[in-house]
Protein backbone atom coordinates (compact mmCIF):
# COMPACT_ATOMS: atom_id res chain seq x y z
CA UNK A 1 0.00 0.00 0.00
CA UNK A 2 1.23 3.50 -0.77
CA UNK A 3 2.28 5.64 2.16
CA UNK A 4 -0.42 8.28 1.56
CA UNK A 5 -3.15 5.64 1.47
CA UNK A 6 -1.75 3.97 4.59
CA UNK A 7 -1.78 7.30 6.41
CA UNK A 8 -5.44 7.74 5.50
CA UNK A 9 -6.23 4.21 6.63
CA UNK A 10 -4.41 4.66 9.93
CA UNK A 11 -6.26 7.92 10.62
CA UNK A 12 -9.60 6.19 9.99
CA UNK A 13 -8.58 3.30 12.22
CA UNK A 14 -7.53 5.62 15.04
CA UNK A 15 -10.85 7.46 14.85
CA UNK A 16 -12.82 4.23 14.85
CA UNK A 17 -10.78 2.45 17.52
CA UNK A 18 -10.75 5.35 19.95
CA UNK A 19 -14.35 6.36 19.19
CA UNK A 20 -13.30 9.90 18.22
CA UNK A 21 -16.76 10.69 16.90
CA UNK A 22 -16.15 14.42 16.45
CA UNK A 23 -12.89 14.02 14.49
CA UNK A 24 -12.54 13.44 10.73
CA UNK A 25 -9.39 12.00 9.08
CA UNK A 26 -8.65 15.35 7.43
CA UNK A 27 -8.61 16.97 10.92
CA UNK A 28 -5.53 14.94 11.87
CA UNK A 29 -2.33 16.50 10.50
CA UNK A 30 0.51 14.08 9.71
CA UNK A 31 3.06 15.84 11.92
CA UNK A 32 0.71 16.92 14.71
CA UNK A 33 1.40 15.29 18.12
CA UNK A 34 -1.15 12.60 18.89
CA UNK A 35 -0.68 12.89 22.66
CA UNK A 36 -0.87 15.84 25.04
CA UNK A 37 -1.26 18.73 22.60
CA UNK A 38 -2.65 18.17 19.12
CA UNK A 39 -5.16 15.34 19.16
CA UNK A 40 -4.98 15.21 23.00
CA UNK A 41 -4.86 11.46 23.50
CA UNK A 42 -3.93 10.02 26.89
CA UNK A 43 -2.22 6.99 28.41
CA UNK A 44 -5.25 4.72 27.97
CA UNK A 45 -5.31 5.66 24.27
CA UNK A 46 -1.64 4.81 23.89
CA UNK A 47 -2.35 1.29 25.15
CA UNK A 48 -5.34 1.06 22.83
CA UNK A 49 -3.21 2.06 19.83
CA UNK A 50 -0.59 -0.54 20.71
CA UNK A 51 -3.39 -3.10 20.56
CA UNK A 52 -4.49 -1.63 17.23
CA UNK A 53 -0.98 -2.08 15.82
CA UNK A 54 -1.03 -5.70 16.92
CA UNK A 55 -4.50 -6.57 15.65
CA UNK A 56 -4.32 -4.73 12.32
CA UNK A 57 -0.64 -4.96 11.43
CA UNK A 58 0.75 -7.83 13.49
CA UNK A 59 3.20 -5.54 15.27
CA UNK A 60 3.90 -6.37 18.92
CA UNK A 61 5.28 -3.57 21.06
CA UNK A 62 6.24 -4.86 24.50
CA UNK A 63 7.36 -1.63 26.15
CA UNK A 64 4.65 1.04 26.48
CA UNK A 65 7.32 3.78 26.67
CA UNK A 66 8.74 2.59 23.36
CA UNK A 67 5.19 2.64 22.07
CA UNK A 68 4.74 6.32 22.94
CA UNK A 69 7.76 7.24 20.82
CA UNK A 70 6.43 5.28 17.86
CA UNK A 71 3.00 6.82 18.30
CA UNK A 72 4.18 10.42 18.57
CA UNK A 73 2.50 11.45 15.30
CA UNK A 74 1.03 9.94 12.13
CA UNK A 75 4.35 10.17 10.27
CA UNK A 76 6.33 8.19 12.85
CA UNK A 77 3.50 5.73 13.29
CA UNK A 78 3.08 4.99 9.60
CA UNK A 79 6.84 4.84 9.08
CA UNK A 80 7.07 2.19 11.81
CA UNK A 81 4.16 0.23 10.37
CA UNK A 82 5.72 0.16 6.92
CA UNK A 83 8.99 -1.16 8.30
CA UNK A 84 7.59 -3.67 10.80
CA UNK A 85 4.19 -4.90 9.69
CA UNK A 86 3.67 -8.63 9.42
CA UNK A 87 0.08 -8.36 8.16
Amino acid sequence: METAALKQQVKEQIIHFLNLTTVKPEDIKDDEPLFGEGLGLDSIDSIELIVLLSREYGINIQDPKEGRKILSDINTMVDYIEKNRTK
Binding site: T21, I44, I47, E48
Partner: protein, 351 residues
Amino acid sequence: MPYFHDSVCISPQFSFPVTDLSQWRASKNNLLNVTEPDYPGIPPGARRRMGKSVRMAVGAALPLLEKYSQPDGMIIATANGGMEDCIKFLNQILEYNEGLLTPASFVQSTSNAAAAQIALVTKNHNYNITHVHRGLAFENALMDVVMSLKEHPGTSYLLGCTDEISAYNYNIDGLAGCFRKESVLNSELFTSLAEGTIPGEGAFMVWMNNEREDASARLDAVRTVHSEDPSTVLKAFNKFLSENLPDGEMPDLLMTGENGDERLVKYYDLIESVFKDKVPVARFKHFCGDYCTASSFACWLSIQILKEGTVPALLLKKAAPAKRVKRILIYNNYRGSQHAFILVSGVAVDG
Protein backbone atom coordinates in the same frame (compact mmCIF):
# COMPACT_ATOMS: atom_id res chain seq x y z
CA MET B 1 -33.09 19.84 57.16
CA PRO B 2 -32.02 18.71 53.72
CA TYR B 3 -33.59 20.65 50.88
CA PHE B 4 -33.85 19.75 47.22
CA HIS B 5 -33.01 22.61 44.90
CA ASP B 6 -32.88 22.44 41.11
CA SER B 7 -32.86 19.01 39.59
CA VAL B 8 -32.51 17.32 36.23
CA CYS B 9 -34.19 14.08 35.33
CA ILE B 10 -33.36 12.23 32.14
CA SER B 11 -36.05 9.63 31.64
CA PRO B 12 -38.12 7.85 29.00
CA GLN B 13 -40.74 10.62 29.41
CA PHE B 14 -40.85 14.37 28.81
CA SER B 15 -38.66 15.35 31.70
CA PHE B 16 -35.65 17.04 30.14
CA PRO B 17 -34.86 19.55 28.79
CA VAL B 18 -38.55 20.43 29.07
CA THR B 19 -40.87 18.94 31.68
CA ASP B 20 -44.33 18.04 30.50
CA LEU B 21 -46.22 15.52 32.60
CA SER B 22 -49.50 16.00 30.76
CA GLN B 23 -48.36 13.69 28.02
CA TRP B 24 -46.29 10.58 27.84
CA ARG B 25 -44.37 8.28 25.54
CA ALA B 26 -45.28 4.69 24.93
CA SER B 27 -42.90 1.84 25.54
CA LYS B 28 -41.48 0.01 22.53
CA ASN B 29 -40.85 -3.72 22.46
CA ASN B 30 -41.56 -3.86 26.19
CA LEU B 31 -38.81 -1.34 26.90
CA LEU B 32 -38.92 2.19 28.26
CA ASN B 33 -35.72 3.56 26.79
CA VAL B 34 -34.35 7.04 27.23
CA THR B 35 -34.04 9.02 24.04
CA GLU B 36 -30.93 10.92 24.96
CA PRO B 37 -30.92 14.69 24.58
CA ASP B 38 -27.91 16.62 23.34
CA TYR B 39 -25.32 17.10 26.01
CA PRO B 40 -23.46 20.25 24.94
CA GLY B 41 -21.43 20.46 28.13
CA ILE B 42 -19.68 17.08 27.90
CA PRO B 43 -16.16 17.50 26.39
CA PRO B 44 -15.81 15.21 23.33
CA GLY B 45 -12.59 13.76 24.72
CA ALA B 46 -14.44 12.49 27.80
CA ARG B 47 -17.70 11.67 26.03
CA ARG B 48 -16.17 9.18 23.60
CA ARG B 49 -15.48 6.75 26.41
CA MET B 50 -18.82 7.05 28.15
CA GLY B 51 -21.42 4.34 28.10
CA LYS B 52 -25.09 5.40 28.24
CA SER B 53 -25.46 5.37 32.02
CA VAL B 54 -22.34 7.50 32.53
CA ARG B 55 -23.39 9.85 29.73
CA MET B 56 -26.86 10.32 31.22
CA ALA B 57 -25.38 10.96 34.67
CA VAL B 58 -22.84 13.48 33.43
CA GLY B 59 -25.40 15.07 31.11
CA ALA B 60 -27.83 15.50 34.01
CA ALA B 61 -25.18 16.82 36.38
CA LEU B 62 -23.56 19.45 34.16
CA PRO B 63 -26.47 21.92 33.98
CA LEU B 64 -26.65 21.93 37.77
CA LEU B 65 -22.92 22.35 38.19
CA GLU B 66 -23.02 25.21 35.73
CA LYS B 67 -25.74 26.91 37.76
CA TYR B 68 -24.41 26.22 41.24
CA SER B 69 -20.62 25.65 40.76
CA GLN B 70 -18.57 23.26 42.88
CA PRO B 71 -20.42 20.99 45.32
CA ASP B 72 -18.82 19.91 48.57
CA GLY B 73 -19.44 16.36 47.55
CA MET B 74 -20.86 14.10 44.86
CA ILE B 75 -23.04 11.27 46.08
CA ILE B 76 -24.05 8.95 43.29
CA ALA B 77 -26.05 5.73 43.18
CA THR B 78 -26.07 3.12 40.45
CA ALA B 79 -26.76 -0.57 40.62
CA ASN B 80 -25.91 -1.48 37.07
CA GLY B 81 -23.83 1.48 35.97
CA GLY B 82 -21.06 0.42 33.68
CA MET B 83 -22.45 -3.08 33.13
CA GLU B 84 -22.64 -2.59 29.37
CA ASP B 85 -18.92 -1.86 29.36
CA CYS B 86 -18.36 -4.92 31.59
CA ILE B 87 -19.97 -7.16 28.99
CA LYS B 88 -18.03 -5.44 26.19
CA PHE B 89 -14.82 -6.21 28.03
CA LEU B 90 -15.92 -9.79 28.76
CA ASN B 91 -16.62 -10.19 25.04
CA GLN B 92 -13.04 -9.18 24.34
CA ILE B 93 -11.72 -11.61 26.97
CA LEU B 94 -13.54 -14.46 25.30
CA GLU B 95 -12.95 -13.36 21.71
CA TYR B 96 -9.23 -12.91 22.15
CA ASN B 97 -8.83 -15.73 24.67
CA GLU B 98 -7.41 -13.46 27.40
CA GLY B 99 -4.84 -12.17 24.93
CA LEU B 100 -4.01 -8.60 24.04
CA LEU B 101 -7.02 -6.48 25.03
CA THR B 102 -7.97 -2.81 24.97
CA PRO B 103 -8.53 -1.37 28.44
CA ALA B 104 -10.96 1.50 27.82
CA SER B 105 -14.15 -0.51 28.45
CA PHE B 106 -12.61 -2.02 31.60
CA VAL B 107 -11.84 1.42 33.02
CA GLN B 108 -15.33 2.68 32.17
CA SER B 109 -17.06 -0.39 33.56
CA THR B 110 -16.39 0.40 37.18
CA SER B 111 -19.49 1.54 39.07
CA ASN B 112 -17.83 4.73 40.15
CA ALA B 113 -17.20 5.80 36.56
CA ALA B 114 -20.13 8.25 36.63
CA ALA B 115 -19.07 9.90 39.89
CA ALA B 116 -15.47 9.90 38.70
CA GLN B 117 -16.28 11.48 35.32
CA ILE B 118 -18.38 14.22 36.87
CA ALA B 119 -15.52 15.01 39.27
CA LEU B 120 -12.97 14.81 36.44
CA VAL B 121 -14.83 17.08 34.05
CA THR B 122 -15.37 19.69 36.79
CA LYS B 123 -12.06 19.15 38.62
CA ASN B 124 -13.88 18.56 41.88
CA HIS B 125 -11.68 17.19 44.66
CA ASN B 126 -14.34 16.85 47.31
CA TYR B 127 -16.21 13.91 48.89
CA ASN B 128 -17.05 11.38 46.20
CA ILE B 129 -18.91 8.12 46.66
CA THR B 130 -20.90 5.54 44.72
CA HIS B 131 -23.65 3.45 46.29
CA VAL B 132 -24.53 0.23 44.47
CA HIS B 133 -26.99 -1.67 46.65
CA ARG B 134 -29.39 -2.79 43.95
CA GLY B 135 -32.95 -1.51 44.61
CA LEU B 136 -31.86 0.63 47.57
CA ALA B 137 -28.82 2.36 46.08
CA PHE B 138 -30.69 5.66 45.76
CA GLU B 139 -32.02 5.47 49.31
CA ASN B 140 -28.49 4.82 50.64
CA ALA B 141 -27.34 7.89 48.73
CA LEU B 142 -30.16 9.90 50.34
CA MET B 143 -29.01 8.75 53.79
CA ASP B 144 -25.48 9.75 52.86
CA VAL B 145 -26.51 13.27 51.94
CA VAL B 146 -28.64 13.61 55.09
CA MET B 147 -25.60 12.70 57.17
CA SER B 148 -23.21 14.88 55.16
CA LEU B 149 -25.39 17.96 55.58
CA LYS B 150 -25.60 17.41 59.35
CA GLU B 151 -21.83 16.89 59.59
CA HIS B 152 -20.98 19.95 57.52
CA PRO B 153 -23.44 22.81 57.92
CA GLY B 154 -23.35 25.31 55.09
CA THR B 155 -22.30 22.79 52.45
CA SER B 156 -24.00 21.67 49.24
CA TYR B 157 -24.02 18.31 47.50
CA LEU B 158 -24.71 16.92 44.08
CA LEU B 159 -26.90 13.88 44.67
CA GLY B 160 -27.97 11.61 41.91
CA CYS B 161 -28.21 8.27 40.25
CA THR B 162 -28.18 6.50 36.92
CA ASP B 163 -29.03 3.10 35.51
CA GLU B 164 -29.39 1.90 31.95
CA ILE B 165 -31.05 -1.05 30.23
CA SER B 166 -27.95 -2.90 29.19
CA ALA B 167 -27.52 -6.32 27.64
CA TYR B 168 -26.56 -7.51 31.11
CA ASN B 169 -29.50 -6.49 33.19
CA TYR B 170 -32.05 -6.92 30.45
CA ASN B 171 -31.21 -10.46 29.42
CA ILE B 172 -30.12 -11.76 32.79
CA ASP B 173 -33.03 -10.20 34.65
CA GLY B 174 -35.29 -11.44 31.91
CA LEU B 175 -34.09 -15.00 32.47
CA ALA B 176 -34.66 -14.47 36.20
CA GLY B 177 -38.32 -13.79 35.44
CA CYS B 178 -38.37 -10.04 36.10
CA PHE B 179 -40.00 -8.97 32.85
CA ARG B 180 -43.21 -9.64 31.00
CA LYS B 181 -42.87 -12.34 28.39
CA GLU B 182 -45.83 -11.25 26.28
CA SER B 183 -45.99 -7.90 24.58
CA VAL B 184 -47.41 -5.11 26.75
CA LEU B 185 -47.54 -1.33 26.56
CA ASN B 186 -46.63 0.80 29.55
CA SER B 187 -50.15 2.21 29.38
CA GLU B 188 -51.51 -1.31 30.02
CA LEU B 189 -49.08 -2.20 32.77
CA PHE B 190 -51.56 -1.95 35.64
CA THR B 191 -54.61 -3.26 33.82
CA SER B 192 -52.95 -6.39 32.53
CA LEU B 193 -51.50 -7.84 35.71
CA ALA B 194 -49.19 -10.76 35.09
CA GLU B 195 -45.81 -11.97 36.24
CA GLY B 196 -43.14 -9.45 35.46
CA THR B 197 -42.84 -5.77 34.60
CA ILE B 198 -41.09 -3.73 31.91
CA PRO B 199 -37.60 -2.32 32.34
CA GLY B 200 -36.73 1.35 32.25
CA GLU B 201 -33.68 3.54 32.65
CA GLY B 202 -32.74 7.08 33.53
CA ALA B 203 -30.62 9.50 35.48
CA PHE B 204 -31.56 11.98 38.19
CA MET B 205 -29.38 14.72 39.64
CA VAL B 206 -30.31 17.28 42.27
CA TRP B 207 -28.55 20.02 44.21
CA MET B 208 -29.02 19.68 47.95
CA ASN B 209 -28.19 21.76 50.98
CA ASN B 210 -29.73 23.08 54.21
CA GLU B 211 -31.01 26.32 52.64
CA ARG B 212 -34.77 26.64 52.51
CA GLU B 213 -34.67 29.73 50.32
CA ASP B 214 -35.25 28.90 46.65
CA ALA B 215 -35.65 25.23 47.51
CA SER B 216 -38.12 23.02 45.62
CA ALA B 217 -38.85 20.51 48.38
CA ARG B 218 -37.55 19.06 51.63
CA LEU B 219 -36.41 15.55 52.43
CA ASP B 220 -37.99 14.58 55.73
CA ALA B 221 -37.02 10.95 56.15
CA VAL B 222 -35.78 7.81 54.45
CA ARG B 223 -35.63 4.21 55.73
CA THR B 224 -35.39 0.78 54.17
CA VAL B 225 -36.01 -2.85 55.04
CA HIS B 226 -35.10 -6.21 53.49
CA SER B 227 -37.83 -8.79 53.66
CA GLU B 228 -40.17 -10.85 51.52
CA ASP B 229 -42.67 -11.16 54.33
CA PRO B 230 -45.49 -8.60 53.92
CA SER B 231 -46.15 -8.41 57.66
CA THR B 232 -42.50 -7.51 58.29
CA VAL B 233 -42.74 -4.80 55.66
CA LEU B 234 -45.93 -3.52 57.26
CA LYS B 235 -44.27 -3.43 60.68
CA ALA B 236 -41.37 -1.42 59.27
CA PHE B 237 -43.80 0.91 57.51
CA ASN B 238 -45.80 1.53 60.67
CA LYS B 239 -42.60 2.26 62.56
CA PHE B 240 -41.63 4.76 59.85
CA LEU B 241 -45.02 6.41 60.16
CA SER B 242 -44.89 6.63 63.95
CA GLU B 243 -41.43 8.20 63.80
CA ASN B 244 -42.16 10.67 61.01
CA LEU B 245 -45.90 11.26 60.84
CA PRO B 246 -46.88 11.12 64.49
CA ASP B 247 -50.33 11.69 65.92
CA GLY B 248 -52.08 9.93 63.07
CA GLU B 249 -50.98 12.52 60.50
CA MET B 250 -51.23 11.34 56.94
CA PRO B 251 -49.38 12.34 53.81
CA ASP B 252 -51.33 14.18 51.10
CA LEU B 253 -50.24 11.64 48.54
CA LEU B 254 -48.87 8.10 48.57
CA MET B 255 -46.67 7.43 45.56
CA THR B 256 -45.99 3.75 44.99
CA GLY B 257 -43.68 1.72 42.85
CA GLU B 258 -46.43 -0.59 41.58
CA ASN B 259 -45.02 -2.10 38.42
CA GLY B 260 -47.67 -4.39 37.04
CA ASP B 261 -46.04 -7.50 38.45
CA GLU B 262 -48.90 -9.48 40.03
CA ARG B 263 -46.50 -11.11 42.49
CA LEU B 264 -45.81 -7.77 44.13
CA VAL B 265 -49.37 -6.45 44.36
CA LYS B 266 -49.76 -7.78 47.91
CA TYR B 267 -47.11 -5.36 49.22
CA TYR B 268 -48.68 -2.34 47.61
CA ASP B 269 -52.21 -3.34 48.66
CA LEU B 270 -51.03 -3.75 52.24
CA ILE B 271 -49.29 -0.36 52.39
CA GLU B 272 -52.22 1.40 50.75
CA SER B 273 -54.61 -0.22 53.18
CA VAL B 274 -52.90 1.49 56.11
CA PHE B 275 -54.49 4.79 55.03
CA LYS B 276 -57.89 3.18 54.37
CA ASP B 277 -58.58 5.09 51.14
CA LYS B 278 -58.08 8.43 52.85
CA VAL B 279 -54.85 9.15 50.98
CA PRO B 280 -54.78 9.51 47.18
CA VAL B 281 -52.36 7.20 45.41
CA ALA B 282 -50.10 7.90 42.45
CA ARG B 283 -47.84 5.52 40.56
CA PHE B 284 -44.73 6.14 38.48
CA LYS B 285 -43.34 3.00 36.90
CA HIS B 286 -45.61 3.16 33.88
CA PHE B 287 -43.66 6.34 33.12
CA CYS B 288 -40.11 5.29 33.86
CA GLY B 289 -40.18 1.49 33.86
CA ASP B 290 -38.63 -0.60 36.59
CA TYR B 291 -34.95 -0.44 37.39
CA CYS B 292 -32.86 -0.40 40.54
CA THR B 293 -32.76 3.35 41.04
CA ALA B 294 -36.32 4.00 39.78
CA SER B 295 -37.34 5.51 43.13
CA SER B 296 -35.26 8.53 42.10
CA PHE B 297 -37.83 9.16 39.35
CA ALA B 298 -40.51 9.06 42.04
CA CYS B 299 -38.46 11.56 44.02
CA TRP B 300 -38.18 13.85 41.01
CA LEU B 301 -41.92 13.55 40.32
CA SER B 302 -42.62 14.36 43.97
CA ILE B 303 -40.53 17.50 43.74
CA GLN B 304 -42.50 18.61 40.65
CA ILE B 305 -45.83 17.85 42.33
CA LEU B 306 -44.86 19.71 45.50
CA LYS B 307 -43.85 22.74 43.46
CA GLU B 308 -47.19 22.78 41.62
CA GLY B 309 -49.34 21.44 44.44
CA THR B 310 -51.30 19.16 42.09
CA VAL B 311 -50.79 15.67 40.70
CA PRO B 312 -50.70 15.07 36.92
CA ALA B 313 -53.75 12.99 36.04
CA LEU B 314 -51.67 10.36 34.22
CA LEU B 315 -50.01 9.39 37.49
CA LEU B 316 -53.15 8.96 39.60
CA LYS B 317 -54.38 5.53 40.56
CA LYS B 318 -57.68 6.64 42.01
CA ALA B 319 -59.20 10.02 42.81
CA ALA B 320 -57.21 13.22 42.73
CA PRO B 321 -56.23 14.88 46.01
CA ALA B 322 -58.88 17.27 47.27
CA LYS B 323 -56.39 19.78 48.60
CA ARG B 324 -52.96 21.09 47.75
CA VAL B 325 -50.29 18.39 48.02
CA LYS B 326 -47.78 19.38 50.69
CA ARG B 327 -46.40 16.05 51.76
CA ILE B 328 -45.68 12.91 49.74
CA LEU B 329 -44.79 9.49 51.03
CA ILE B 330 -43.03 7.30 48.50
CA TYR B 331 -43.15 3.53 48.94
CA ASN B 332 -41.18 1.40 46.52
CA ASN B 333 -39.89 -2.12 46.45
CA TYR B 334 -37.44 -3.86 44.16
CA ARG B 335 -38.42 -7.39 43.29
CA GLY B 336 -40.39 -7.73 46.51
CA SER B 337 -37.34 -8.02 48.74
CA GLN B 338 -35.94 -4.52 49.14
CA HIS B 339 -38.42 -1.94 50.43
CA ALA B 340 -38.00 1.79 50.87
CA PHE B 341 -40.00 4.60 52.44
CA ILE B 342 -39.19 8.22 51.61
CA LEU B 343 -41.04 11.25 52.99
CA VAL B 344 -40.82 14.50 51.05
CA SER B 345 -42.49 17.83 51.86
CA GLY B 346 -43.16 21.04 50.00
CA VAL B 347 -41.27 24.10 51.14
CA ALA B 348 -44.42 25.87 52.21
CA VAL B 349 -44.92 23.35 55.06
CA ASP B 350 -44.02 24.81 58.40
CA GLY B 351 -41.31 23.32 60.57
